[in-house]
Symmetry: C2
Subunit: 303 residues, 2 copies
């Protein structure tokens, strides 16, 4: 995909007023109409999983630093991390901070790390809720959505620094995790297709960092642990992932000491909708004038 | 206010399941019921300002670093800042990062500042939208809400690290800014009182940092530039600000070069609802069992 193709759709979105250049690469404001699409997608996602009996939980855009450290995120995706730093000095140190800012120099050297980092995926804060004894038979199910951050500045409008993710998560035994994945591959496909989107479900890998990451990516693909729902946004030849189904095996179970009902290390899996990417796929598919979208699609989004 | 009083209400909220300890001081998850209150408050706020003809815009929880630098935020509130840092190194630097993490050492030294910082107030990204020529006669009005961050870890449940703010903003001439403030003092009071909250409107100041901050705070109070809607949350003697009306004079106008219709430096003002604090004030006032809240209050929140 070329920068020109990214740029063309990005310009169209910004010219239409649906998306606003917020002044940093990959950072966008959203219009009222764009957010109507977002609300529609999130409502449809909730209705699609309404029979799961999931516990709905909401978390802020930041998570504890220890959570990121424990999940191997720094090993796998250091480049996507958003570490939060603040100022804890006195008046003298403050004078130094302001002198650096005035000189146009790098002022962050006087900051110290805060106890939080930006949340890379909606589901991360859910797993620590599952500790403290074996899970009930059948495991636990969560619905969770909210703002996520990945540091990958890009001209591609589908690669936003900050975006919404909406997930249905299962934590329990291996069979339950596999079942959750199977169910949501089917449900996700049906949900996206009901919006008129052309969808392929493909084996994929996370963007693991560096040389060691190549091995991790190959293993993930070999076991088909990650399936992506891809649909054209900036390109028909290279469609974009607008959702995924992920089997984590015992990654989170062993990391946080989660026990399934029979006392074994818990497995987990999630279905994740990339809400902003799904909005962009809809705008690409049906056009930038929402009022002209097919009635059936509008009825699905805004019943 | 004592730590014990904070702790008592915090424990009640967590025991009820409405609020979840997210693993860092000042960081909380929210239940489905808690978020119903939030949605109700935001819907009521929108309806209260529906006749403003405001442009609704949405922005992510992060803003460009240059925006924070230009707004004097580092001068006034360095301690509340959330600067975002990421990893931009190679495999060798990555090995060093992981060695630091494994040793339990401070690993942030290998990070570099990203182009973004956490958003301290909902309205900050709005002002750069007003540049590029004089504003229309009558100025511009915006409705904006979303996640904000202030680094002030505390046991006080009303002092969250990450919280929602919902604002109506005016940018235009000085008379329009004063008018916006007057209208919203009245509307805000009526809105909060319609929810059964006991409200006082008081002259207040922002928590300006350090020695120089004392002068800024005194000036702000002397001119009554900030009025807060206060209501009991953890204490009846020291009620908490759950909303505010702020006259910025030409602070943002001169910072960003915004011109009013007659070519003068624009003035601005905003009405801001602390959405999470308003939710807590309602829980304090009407109890933790939402279904037992007065019918009139429920009708206002969920018409």
């Amino acid at each position: 995909m070329t920068d020109e193709a990214f740029g063309a759709f990005r310009d169209e979105l910004i010219d239409s007023g649906l998306v606003i250049d917020a002044g940093a690469e990959g950072l966008y404001g959203r219009s009222f109409d764009y957010e109507r699409i977002v609300s529609g997608i999130m409502g449809l996602t909730t209705r699609t999983g309404a029979d799961e009996g999931a516990t709905t939980v909401h978390f802020p855009p930041v998570i504890p630093r220890w959570l990121l450290e424990r999940t191997d995120y720094l090993k796998s995706f250091p480049d996507l991390t958003g570490s939060v730093h603040s100022f804890r000095g006195d008046d003298k140190m403050h004078a130094r901070l302001l002198a650096l800012v005035d000189a146009g120099d790098d002022w962050v050297e006087v900051l110290e790390p805060a106890d939080v980092v930006l949340r890379p995926a909606a589901c991360h804060p859910v797993y620590p809720l599952c500790t403290g004894g074996p899970l009930p038979a059948g495991g636990r199910r969560f619905e969770v959505h909210g703002w996520c951050f990945r540091h990958e500045p890009s001209r591609d409008p589908a690669r936003m620094l900050a975006f919404r993710m909406h997930e249905f998560v299962y934590v329990g035994d291996p069979g339950g995790a596999d079942g959750h994945s199977e169910v949501w591959v089917a449900r996700g496909t049906e949900m996206y297709e009901s919006l008129g989107l052309e969808i392929d479900v493909v084996v994929a890998n996370d963007p693991f960092f560096g040389r060691a990451g190549k091995v991790l990516a190959a293993n993930q693909r070999a076991e088909a642990l990650k399936l992506e729902f891809v649909s054209p946004i900036t390109s028909t030849e290279s469609p974009t992932a607008i959702g995924s189904v992920n089997r984590h095996q015992d990654h989170f179970g062993s990391t946080f000491g989660i026990e399934s009902a029979d006392g074994a290390v818990a497995h987990s899996a999630c279905f994740a909708v990339g809400v902003d990417r799904t909005a962009l796929a809809l705008l690409r598919r049906h056009g930038l004038d929402i009022s002209s979208w097919p009635a059936a699609v509008q009825a699905r989004l805004w019943p």
